[in-house]
Structures are given as C-alpha cells and as structure tokens.
Amino acid sequence: MRHLAVLIGVLWLAGCQTAPIAPMTGAQGAAGLTAEERRLWHSAQELDQQMVNADYLYEDAALQAYVAGIMRKLYPEYADTIRVRILDSPSLNAFALPNGSIYINTGMLARLDNEAQLATVLAHEGVHFTRKHSWQQQRNVKSSTAFSTGFGVVTGIPLLGDLVAISSMYGFSKDLEREADVDGFERLRAAGYDVSQAPVTFEYLLAEVDALDIDEPYFFSTHPRLQERIQSFSQLVRQSGGANRYRGEQPYREQLEKLQLELLQDYLELGQYQSVLLILERDDAFTRYPPSARFYLGEAYRLRGEEGDSERAANAYQAALRLAPAFAPTYRALGLHYMKSDRPEQAESFFRRYLELRPDAPDKGYIELYRSSLRKN
C-alpha cells in the first residue's frame, strides 16, 4: 500500500510545475508574470486595499517619504515597483507582498536605533519580493500538500494542515530566508550602510522579544527565527570584513521622534507597560526622548503596580513636572496619585492646574467627579 502511495505521489509531482521561477526585474509589474504568479499578485493587491479600507496605514507624509527614500537607496532599479507602507500597529512585524508592497509596523520602526538597522530589515524584505519567495513557497506548498493528500488518501492518514497559513506567520523556509539575508546584505553594503548593524538589528529585536516575553506569531517576534538571522548576518559580516560606514543615527531619531512618543501613548493605551519600561529605563532613554516622556515612565510604573511602583511613578511624574511644566497630563497623573494616597489638598491642586492647562480635556468629566468627591470628603 505504501508503495502505491509513493507511486501516486511521484506521478503527481511529475505533473507539477517544476520550471525555475525567474526573479523580478526592476521594471516588471504584473504584466511580465506567468498566469500563476498573477494570482498571488492579484491577491496582494486586494490586501493592499484592505489595509486602506480599515485605516491601518500610519499617516505621516514626512516619515513615509524618509522610509521610501531608504528603500530607493537599497533597490534603485525597483523604484517604480516596490512601495513601502507604514502600518499603524505596535506589533513587531514587517512583511513583503508578492506585488512589491512592503509593510513595516510602527512598532518595528520605533524599536530600531538607526537608519542602518531599518535598512537591514527593508533590504531583507525586499529580497522576498525580488526573488519571488511567495511564489516559490506557494509552489512548494501546493506540491507538498498534493503529495501528502495522495498519501493520506491511500493510507487513511489525515491530510497535512495548511502549510501556507502556518509558514506565513513564521517566515519562509530556511533556504529562502538565508537567500534574503545574503542578497539583502549585499544591498545594504552597496547602499553604503554600516553592515555591522545587520546582526545588531536582530540582537536588539531578540532582546526585546525575550524581555517582553512576546508571544505573537509574527516572524520578527519568534526567538528561533531571530536567532537564525543573528547567526546568518554575523557570518556575513565576518566574511565581508565589516568596514564601518553610514549608520544614520541622527536623521533616524529626528524622523522617529514624533512616532516614538505616540507609540509610548499607544503602548499605555494597550496596557503594554512593559514595552514603555523597556524603552524608558535604558540609560540613554532621555537623550532620545523629550523630558515629558518621564510622564509615560510614571504611567508605566503605575500600570505595573508592583511593590514600590507607586513611589517610582510619583518620582517620574515629579521629574516630568520640573522639566516640562507645561505638559498637562502630568498634573492629572499627580492628582490621581495624591487622591489615591489620601492627600486631598495636593490632589485638588493638581486637578485644578490640569484643567487650567487643558480646559477642554476629554476626561474633564472624570476629573470634576473626583474633585467633587474630594470636596465631600
């Protein structure tokens, strides 16, 4: 019976498309694709529209132009085909679609340190498009599932699950990811970036994933895949000699300043205080963030709520108050802190000042309620 299954599988595989997949050329759009490749292209177009429909894109023309400019440096001949888009999501993720759309999350952008690290991620993702990895993976999956279907049919063993769906979360095959590393590395070097930042990018991401105990299924959030990238890029750096070149720390920080602050607020709104602490407890945090960011540090301690965090929060708020006295949310935070510490006069003072600075505060109703409660007591 097993011999029959193998025979059937071999016959099917013999009938499957085995011609090699030609890489994308720079000017090629959907027109130059085979009928099969056009199917994935078409589906990718749909996903692009879905992102627009649901308002998933992060609207910042200057940042968008900056990121697109990096992509053009890496892939100049694909300037008309590759489109980088920023997704408004704090998750650690970036991905390439078969139609040249490359997405990078605001969460990923905010976690990187400099332009060379961003270029590492973009260069890697770009190869998935130029080498048509989606099509290769799709073809492999269809062949493998066809074989397994035959086997299962004959022997009664249940069919394999949907490999495409699974692998889309955990990345491409090891070989394809390695190809993306090698080709992407060359792109990085040709564009003049400091290639020593390539493994550092993934070491940094790995530290984040470990520290935050992230369990999202995305490629850039999985420990084994990040470890592979570190090993792969470290080897490439050793082979290349790794001359120090452009990192672009200052322009990166300037471009990301607004987003990084927004992301702190986003993390707090999602209850992800650990991410805020990881960012703001770094020694160099306040060389990169404005003084008002100490408010977010205080909020993160408050949300964590471990022993001693109430005092840590208060200290952070007080520091924010000293260094950024016009930043209204600090007053609200201190008002709440003193209210919970049973110090009504200080609480009232800070609530009043908060509403003076922000008379149309969206949470004015709560503040007035708390002030009323303080007066009654």
Binding site: L270, G271, D363, G365, Y366
Partner: protein, 184 residues
C-alpha cells in the same frame, strides 16, 4: 470573552443549537441572574449563558447588546489583568479600551474614542464610552459601553451596531436596558 461567546453562538446556531435563543414576547420580561437583573426589550431575541445575556433584533452580527458580569479575577482576561472594587471609573474605561484593542486585528488603529465620561448605572458610579472603528470592508461600527465595579465584580453593558442606520435606530433600546440595570 464576548468575542468567543459570539463565535460560539454563531457556530452553535449553524450546527442547529436553536434552543438557546428565545424570543422576548412580552414588554415586562426581565432577566434575573445571580449578579444583576435587567429589563429585556420586547420583540428582540435573547441568548443567556453564565450570567451573560446577549440580545439582538436582527442578528447578533448586525446589532447586539451584551450584558456581562465578570468576577474580579476575570476582569480583563485578554490583558491578563484583574479588576478590583477600588478601581476608578476612568481606569476601568482605559482598561476596557485596552482590552478591545488588544484582541483586535492590528490592534485596531482606526478606533476612535468619541466620548469617555463618568455615568451612574443602577446607582453605581461607572464609565460610559462611545467608540467607533472601521471594519476591514470599510464599514463604520459604533459601540456604547457602560461599566462599573462593586465588591463582587465588574459589570459591563455593551451595544454595538453599524453607524449606518442601525446604531441610531436601536440606541434607545440600549439606553432603556442600561437604565433598568441593577446589580443584585
């Protein structure tokens, strides 16, 4: 929990578990559960499980009113956080928003907070949220959420419907249900 409950209901219905849905025929119908009681709108259909009540007029994926009691240790399961009797209404509101976003696709970047203010619910001080987001098809959806805590747990009343036609039309029903709500 609400999302899982709804998916269970839908799948259960598809499998023919019709008995759990009951039409509310009379205007005097009340739900009296272990932790709260509330008046139910005549002409709607209800589903009850574990002190959670789901109401709909046209289908729970179109418009729905969900009334829940959560023990404090299950206050915000998706965030892995508990609620507590001493939580301020603004804190409850913030965590409710966080929980909605945490379970949504891409963390729901389109979510807008239209209003967020304190409110009285059955004599208790709580929060009232009015939210809006867009589905992946570009359909605007709005939510009204009221909630408060007491010594026993966390109570939530949620109304969700498309902005087009349904939200405004059925909002008075939700307001009536919310007005009738009392913790037992």
């Amino acid at each position: 929990m609400p999302y899982k409950l709804l998916m269970m209901l839908l799948v259960g219905m598809l499998a023919g578990c019709a008995a759990n849905w009951v039409r509310i025929d009379s205007a005097d119908t009340q739900y009296r559960g272990a932790h709260y009681h509330v008046s139910l709108p005549a002409g709607w259909v209800r589903f009850e499980k574990d002190d959670t009540v789901l109401l709909s007029r046209d289908g729970p994926d179109l418009q729905r009113i969900l009334i829940e009691y959560r023990a404090h240790d299950k206050g915000f399961e998706n965030l892995k956080r508990t609620s507590s009797p001493g939580m301020l209404p603004s804190e409850l509101a913030d965590l409710t928003i966080a929980e909605i976003r945490a379970t949504a696709e891409q963390k729901l970047p389109s979510l807008e907070v239209l209003s967020n203010a304190p409110v009285e619910i059955g004599g208790q001080t709580g929060f009232a949220l009015h939210l809006r987001f867009k589905t992946e098809e570009g359909l605007r959806m709005e939510l009204l959420i009221r909630g408060f805590v007491d010594e026993r747990g966390f109570y939530l009343l949620t109304y969700r419907a498309p902005t087009l036609h349904y939200f405004k039309r059925d909002r008075p029903v939700f307001e009536s249900v919310a007005t009738s709500f009392r913790a037992s």
